[in-house]
């Protein structure tokens, strides 16, 4: 029997049902695991053992009474520190919110609570979800469990690393331009960004409102499906959430789902400069694997691909500059102690509270919205965004899904790109389009580099057809034979 902390959600749930394990024992196992590896991984910004154990005991009481709430009842779930749970810290990995405790619980978190999940810890991230390496956290640098000299990816690096290292069973992250899929790829786990509007954003500290989505991290597709099912659904508190029926994703997973399906492979993605040869080879062989289980492979074109990064860094920064204006030193954030007047208070509190990357993006976003520049930048970017969306719409007229790399490289060394923001931005080249188009995307492990670093395959599906996308990913996962590989920590 494998260690408790590497079991899947279904396995753990079965063990609780058969009374072989209690939630308290499971939660304790994750707490112990966390304590034993955290000095190497640094995935958590904070955790609260007592509240986790209390939740676990409450779960055990429910089960004993035959009142199990869901398959997630009693399962320790890690939360990216950008999600609001009443009474828990909510730092966004920023000095600005270092001492902030959320007075309310967001919708998807409430849904998880109602499903009986045990919240285990606040996971590290790039400050306000801005970054691709987790190095922009104000508090700590999370390490990649497969090689602790390397970054775990970002911004949800803590979530990816914690799931990969067995510090929690599954975790939630958020994805604005690849912040779930890229770290999932780099840490060898499954990470999914749902269709924009599937999961409520109420309770997700906003980075770029028109791009942000909450999504699951898991060690297998089925666990991701279980977690997504628990948090998806229309929310009257989020005007951008969409009224769609949420199918029972886990029960719809089929090993043969790729049979007879057309997979589109975007030519532009493989022509991108900076793609690592090993990554390319691994993704190409993954696509071959799909073919071997019945899929048809067709080359497609997404002609506006090269515009995605400029468009993203206009739209996302513009929205961020406005979204982050509330962190001002007036009400609940860091407040400078040496301000002379109100304007000085704004300047000093924000200068002290925000890190370099956040400031860079606020300045960029403020600039592109400024009078005289709005039409040339923001408005134009929105028009190009429509073109990018159109690329995908046309592609999906003839294919069932699109396969591509998740990230152009494997995990890079800590500090390698920190002084070169443009190189860092290029890391999201394959993921950003999917956010701009609002589509669902999933990253699944598809191989390892010679150095033993994980490589991820990205599958992109049709809007609100998560059931199909998860099923395709499941079919590939089964065929790949990579399940059950864990980092050696």
């Amino acid at each position: 029997m494998s260690q408790i902390f590497y079991k899947t959600v279904s396995e753990l749930s079965d063990l609780m049902d058969s009374k072989e394990l209690s939630s308290a024992e499971i939660t304790k196992a994750f707490i112990e695991r966390t304590k034993s590896v955290e000095d190497k991984i640094s995935a958590f910004i904070s955790y609260d053992e007592d509240s986790a154990m209390k939740a676990a005991e409450a779960s055990d009481t429910r089960r004993a009474r035959g009142e199990k709430l869901s398959e997630l009842d009693g399962i320790p779930v890690g939360l990216k520190d950008v999600l609001a749970v009443k009474g828990q810290p909510l730092t966004c990995a920023s000095r600005m919110l270092e001492n902030f405790v959320s007075p309310y619980t967001g919708t998807s978190l409430k849904m998880l609570e109602d499903a009986g999940a045990v919240f285990w810890g606040r996971l590290n991230m790039d400050e306000f979800a801005m970054g691709s390496s987790c190095e922009n956290s104000a508090f700590k640098k999370t390490k990649n469990p497969w090689d602790t000299t390397r970054i775990p990816g970002g911004s949800s690096g803590g979530s990816a690393a914690a799931v990969a290292a067995g510090e929690c069973a599954v975790a939630l992250g958020s994805d604005t331009g690849g912040s779930i899929r890229q770290p999932a790829s780099l840490c060898g786990v499954v990470g999914m960004k749902p269709t924009y509007g599937l999961v409520s954003r109420f309770g997700l500290a906003a980075f770029a409102s028109s791009l942000d989505q909450i999504g699951p991290f898991a060690r297998c597709v089925k666990d991701a499906a279980i977690l997504l099912k628990a948090v998806a659904g229309h929310d009257p508190l989020d005007s951008t959430s969409v009224k769609v029926d949420i199918p029972d994703y886990p029960s719809l997973l089929r090993e043969d789902s790729l049979k007879g399906k057309k997979i589109g492979v975007p030519r532009e993605y493989f022509e991108a400069s900076g793609m690592d040869a090993e990554v390319r080879a691994s993704v190409e062989s993954a696509i071959e694997k799909c073919k071997s289980i019945g899929a048809e492979i067709v080359e497609i074109s997404l002609p506006h691909t090269d515009l995605a990064i400029p468009v993203y860094y206009i739209v996302a920064t513009a929205e961020a500059s406005s979204n982050l204006a509330r962190y001002d030193g007036i009400r609940y954030t860091h407040r400078s102690k040496c301000a002379k007047d109100v304007v000085d208070l704004y300047f000093k509190s924000r200068a002290e509270g925000f890190g370099e990357e956040v400031k860079r993006r606020i300045i960029l976003g403020t600039y592109v919205l400024s009078s005289g520049y709005y039409d040339a930048y923001y408005l134009r970017a929105q028009k190009v965004r429509t073109l990018i969306r159109g690329d995908f719409e046309r592609a999906f007229e003839s294919v069932d899904l699109i396969c591509a790399p998740t990230s152009p490289t494997c995990a890079f060394k800590v500090g390698e790109k920190i002084s070169d923001p443009l190189a860092m931005y290029l890391n999201d080249i394959f993921t950003i389009n999917v956010n701009l188009a609002g589509l669902p995307g999933i990253s699944i492990p598809c191989g390892f580099s010679k150095e033993g670093l994980p490589i991820g395959l990205q599958m992109i599906g049709k809007a609100f057809d998560e059931a199909a996308l998860l099923s395709y990913a499941y079919a590939f996962e089964r065929a790949s034979g990579l399940e059950g590989r864990h980092p050696n920590i």
Partner: protein
């Protein structure tokens, strides 16, 4: 050279809705600071706005009453600026796709003598849009406090064209807005409670010129009459500047009520770049034909239309309609009364606009010791309007109608009617029982009155002679003693008739 002023107003009106514009929090005036808030109002990380459709409906209603075009689609924009009264440091507003476009507001200018109907004209509107109100700052010597109770209250901004030319026009415009909007039940428009706020844009140019002068914006006026005084002052100041060669600069000035002057607040150099962009958290709102039809069906008659109808259908004098028709409660009181007795609308209107309002005002003044000091906008200083008093008034429309009828039927005299009305106001009893209890019934017994008349005539031959000689007024000297002899109850019309017959 002659100069003319060009004036445009931006008027903010708080909507009377159950909850705030983007979240389910109650709003009302005068609650403990920061009690009408929630996570959304505080702008905690992760909160999102949700539109209150009632605010949209109410704004469309006002737009329709002013003849605005209601577009098929409207959207929300963020107006970005840092100030502690704004929790998000952006205000949700509408930039280029407002809820209402164009339209106009009918206003009435004062007439020369004040008692006739003045000239009517229409002030053109640019647009009406919806936005959220901000919190309220109170400054102390070393720090400031902020109250977010007001933050997020739905606020309708009514923007006029630069289509007015005097303080009087602006005054009439504000009163017309107030009258229509309160008729529609959209807001009470109480300027002292901040439910209605006006910013004025004003410039002066040589008469006949089609170029606009330097635009000056003015703030901090909390009653229509302050707006009028401020504009009158500012027109004089700007003309003086031009005449004396002092250059005018585009700036924002505030009205100092105490000194009766305007003073510089900020100049254009400090003007904001609001970096408007569409709010990504809210979807654009589609306004269906169905919704428009629904709202249209609920539209009330606007006050000036009602006034014209009262004058033509009921033959009411302008003076009475100008009091009645700008107050929905008085109108419904009047119309309720007519349901009980409809033969004398004029008498009914007079009783409401004279006796009833006089009693209500004198009562509220003696109780509240109110002053006309509108400067301090504190809860205590706010003068209760007669609207709330009308609801508490013991006189019902039915009883008021019965009183009119008693007079018309000759049961009581005008003098008696006043006495009965005073009793109705204080006790709430119906006029018939007051007449009974007080024995106020008018004496219309022909035989008895004739006896009184003969008695009076026998004592004053001189008056009879004078009357016969053509002095019509002399007859009053004979009627007086009859009234006295009857204990004031003689029906004056009958006495006069009998007296004339007896004298021959």
């Amino acid at each position: 050279m002659e100069y003319e002023a060009v004036i445009g107003l931006e008027v903010h009106v708080q909507l009377k809705t159950q909850s705030k514009l983007f979240t389910a929090v109650e709003h009302r005036f005068g609650a403990e600071p920061n009690t009408l808030t929630n996570s959304v109002i505080w702008a905690f990380p992760g909160v999102l706005p949700v539109i209150n459709y009632e605010a949209i409906r109410k704004t469309i209603k006002v737009g329709m009453l002013f003849g605005c075009k209601i577009p098929e689609i409207t959207k929300w924009d963020r107006k970005n600026y840092f100030y502690p009264d704004s929790p998000k440091n952006y205000q949700l507003s509408q930039y280029d796709q407002p809820l209402c476009l164009g339209g106009g507001v009918e206003i009435e200018l004062p007439s020369a003598n004040g008692s006739d109907m003045g000239e009517h004209r229409v002030v053109k509107l640019t647009r009406i849009h919806l936005e959220e109100d901000v919190g309220k700052l109170t400054h102390f010597s070393s720090d400031s406090l902020v109250d977010y109770n007001r933050a997020g209250i739905p606020l309708m901004e009514i923007v006029s064209e630069p289509d007015m030319h005097s303080g009087d026009e602006a005054f009439a415009y504000l009163n017309a807005l107030k009258s229509v909007i309160s008729f529609a039940g959209v807001s009470d428009c109480d300027m002292e409670k901040g439910q209605m706020r006006a910013d004025v844009n004003i410039s002066v140019r040589p008469k006949g010129s089609d170029k606009l002068g330097v635009k000056i914006e003015m703030k901090n006026m909390n009653s229509p009459s302050h707006v009028r005084s401020c504009i009158d002052y500012e027109i004089r100041r700007q003309i003086d500047c031009i005449k004396n060669g002092v250059p005018l600069v585009q700036e924002t000035r505030r009205w100092d009520v105490q000194l009766g002057v305007t003073q510089t607040m900020r100049t254009k150099e400090e003007a904001h770049d609001y970096r408007y962009f569409p709010d990504p958290d809210l979807m654009p709102v589609m306004i269906s034909e169905e919704l428009k039809a629904q709202i249209k069906a609920e539209l009330p008659e606007v006050p000036f239309e009602r006034q014209r109808r009262y004058m033509s259908d009921y033959g009411l004098p302008y003076s009475a309609t100008s009091v009645l028709c700008h107050d929905i409660e008085l109108c419904s009181f009047f119309e309720e009364s007519l349901k009980t007795y409809s033969k004398n609308p004029k008498g009914t209107a007079n009783l409401i606009t004279n006796d009833l309002l006089r009693e209500i005002y004198s009562k509220s003044e003696s109780e509240e010791d109110s002053s006309d000091d509108f400067e301090s906008v504190s809860e205590e200083a706010v003068k209760p309007s007669h609207q709330s008093k009308l609801a508490e008034c013991k006189v019902t429309p039915e009883n008021l109608a019965l009183l009119v009828k008693l007079g018309d039927d000759g049961v009581i005299s005008k003098q008696m009617a006043k006495e009965v009305f005073a009793e109705m106001f204080s006790s709430g009893k119906n006029p018939e029982s007051i007449v009974e209890e007080k024995g106020l019934r008018q004496n219309s017994d022909g035989g008895e009155l004739e006896k009184f008349c003969i008695e009076a005539m026998s004592k004053n031959q001189k008056a009879i002679d004078q009357y016969k000689a053509g002095n019509a007024k002399a007859i009053n000297a004979l009627i007086g003693p009859v009234m006295k002899a009857s204990g004031g109850k003689a029906n004056p019309a009958m006495v006069l008739e009998i007296m004339k017959r007896l004298i021959g």
